[in-house]
Every structure is written in C-alpha cells, then in structure tokens.
Symmetry: C2
Subunit: 215 residues, 2 copies
C-alpha cells in the first residue's frame, strides 16, 4: 500500500467529482494552503489568508474543503509522495557512490525548489506527527529498513565508508533539509540561498564530503 493511499484512507478529501473550473480552484487552494501552513503551522494558519492568496472568498474555499483539517490533510497528501520518492529510487543507480551522490543532490534540489514542502513536514513532525504518524511507522519505516540493508551491503563490499546506515540517512535528511527549514537563519548569516548556484555547490560539496569522505 503506497503512502498516498494510506493517507487517503485516513480521510477522503472532499474535492472528488468537481467540474473542470473547480479542479483548477482546488489546485490554487492547495498551493495557497501549502504556503500558509508551511509558515504558520496548522494552528496558526488562517483560512482567510489561504482564501485570499488563492483569490476567492472564505466560504467559497470551504465549499471545496469542508474544514480546515480536511484542507491540511489534502495538502499533506499531495506533498507526501514527492518527499518519499527520492529515497525509494536510490537503488536505481548501480554504482553506490553515484547512487548516494544522486540522492544527496536530489534532496538538495528539493530543498531548493520545494522549501515549503520541507517546512510543512518539519512542522508536522515537530508537533508529534499526529497525522503522519501512521505513515512514519509503516511506509517510511519499511523503506528505511530496506535502504539501510542496501547501504550496509555496499559498505561491507567496500564501496562506501562504514557508518551506521540509519544515522547516515538522518544526517543526509538533516543537512539537506536544513537549508529549507532554516532558510531564514541561513540567509541572515550568509545572505545567500540555494538559489545561488555557487552556494548550492558549496552545500552539496560539504554534505558529500561528510557522507562519502570525499567529493
């Protein structure tokens, strides 16, 4: 059962069976909701703010999503797969070093291109993951177990430096997502972001040196 289905099973969002124009609205609402939830969290988000950003009235937004919780769930659902896919695809590269390098690079690209998605998940996990807990304990846990076994095999074959594979994954997540989740701090301290190609390359090089022992 893919993660999307698991989340969908938790509560079906109400946008099923809408017209073409309505579906375009749903997309605009979800975009706006991601932007607001990712900054203010679930509790701090205001439906007015999401509606205004999406260009419609508050009751009209509530026509598409009956409650704030429904909307939050729909945003999480739409964003979740994108977040799990890179790790699942890590073994498609045959060379271990290339596989890990590609994974780190992709994670940094996601942190650069979808910082709001990163912050949304960070906030959800930090408040105890009341919605995502089932996904963490099942889908992600299984995925991490299989990827850890793969990393262990690569290390034992001498292709990668020996590390605890789970802590290594934590390190990759922490370092790459840091540039999205703490971008306010990164920018305050350096004046730069991952949008700057040179800065992106510096970050990538530092993470790869840490993960592989070389860049």
């Amino acid at each position: 059962m893919p993660a999307t289905n698991r989340l969908a099973a938790l509560a079906s969002p109400s946008q099923a069976g809408k017209t073409r124009g309505g579906e375009a609205n749903v997309e605009r609402i979800l975009d706006a909701a991601l932007a607001v939830f990712a900054v203010d969290g679930f509790a701090g988000a205001r439906i007015d703010a999401i509606a205004e950003r999406a260009g419609l009235s508050k009751p009209n937004l509530l026509y598409y999503f009956r409650t704030k919780a429904d909307l939050y769930l729909a945003v999480l659902r739409r964003t979740l797969d994108m977040w799990l896919v890179p790790l699942a695809e890590m073994d498609t590269q045959s060379d271990p070093v290339a596989a890990l390098t590609g994974y780190v690079t992709r994670k940094l690209e996601y942190a650069r291109d979808y910082p709001e998605a990163s912050r949304l998940f960070a906030m959800e996990v930090m408040r105890g993951a009341p919605i995502l807990n089932a996904v963490l304990e099942n889908d992600l846990k299984r995925l991490v177990a299989s990827r850890s076994a793969l990393l262990t095999r690569w290390m034992e074959a001498g292709h990668l430096p020996r590390r605890d594979p789970v802590h290594l994954l934590f390190m990759i997540w922490a370092t790459t997502q840091h540039y999205a989740d703490f971008s306010t701090q990164v920018q305050a301290l350096t004046g730069r972001t991952l949008e700057d190609p040179a800065f992106f390359a510096e970050a990538r090089r530092t993470v790869l040196l840490a993960v592989l022992g070389r860049a």
Copy 2:
C-alpha cells in the same frame, strides 16, 4: 551587547520586582510555557494549558505575564543564551580536534537534555524568526564570523580537513538538533532516543566521522 540584553531590549518582561514566592511561580510558568510552546508553537499554544501545567489559574498566570506574547518572549529570552554558549566556548580548548569534538558532544547533550529548547528555536526560525531576527542578524552573525575564522585557521594549519567553515557549522547544527527536533520521527523509525547511551554514542560517532573525517 550580549544576546540576552538585546532581546531584553525588545520588550521587558513584567516579572521585575516580584516577591520570593512569585519568582518561584515565574520559573514554573516559564518551564510550562516552554513545554507547550515547543509542541504547539506560538499560535497553537493555549494559556489555559500552560497555566494548568504550572499549577495555577489562567488569570493568575496573566498576573505574572500580561500577554501571551510577553510570555513567549520571556521563554525565548531565558533559553537563548544556553543555545549560544557552546559555540562561543569552542575556542577554550586548545587542540582543534578536541575543540570540535567537544562542541559536537555538547550539542548532542543539549539535544538530549533540552529538546524543547531546540524545538522552540526551530519553530521560531521556521516561521521567519519574527522575534529572533535581530539576534540572528547581529549576535549570531558576529559569533559565526569569528568561529568561522578560527576554523579556517585550524584547517589551513592542517589540523582539520578543509571544508567551508559556515557550511560545516550548519552541518553540526542540523545533525545534532535533528535528534531533538525530529525525535518523533527518530523514535518511530528506530524505537530509540538519545537517552539510550548506545544510541547517543552511535549518533555522536556518525557526526564526528562526518565533521572530522575520523572518530
């Protein structure tokens, strides 16, 4: 001007000039507030919940802190120095490897012993650091600049592997605070926490291997 004074200048908390019993209450309120703010964020926190946890009534809490914002500011203020001190003290160790090892170890101990403080700052930064921005742009920026210069000297002298010093600091912060900020996820995936000495040692070893190229 130390960070505490800078924050204090933003708004003086109202607990000045209270009696002995009152000061004990202030401490209990601040402890309770940290616990609640660190999970629910500023917007999600309920004064009732903080008052109940501190063992007094809501109006009584508001006798000590006139508004929720005052209380939030006071909690940030009390927690801030603890968060900056380890980095400031990094140069007291003469040996570069020992200094960095000590810094990483202390950061992990803080993540283990004060996870709520870590989450409080993470949430504040993730919502754009409306309160802490001045501290980031001044005190922390200066501190990072001086520590970066120190790390660069150590690297050029051949005591440490060459890295971008600022990205190296980001990596240390990200990896160590990850165990506090994402402890829900860490526990869901491994069933363990930094309270477990063996788990702590594994995390420490992984971070040190990344930072120093050896443990």
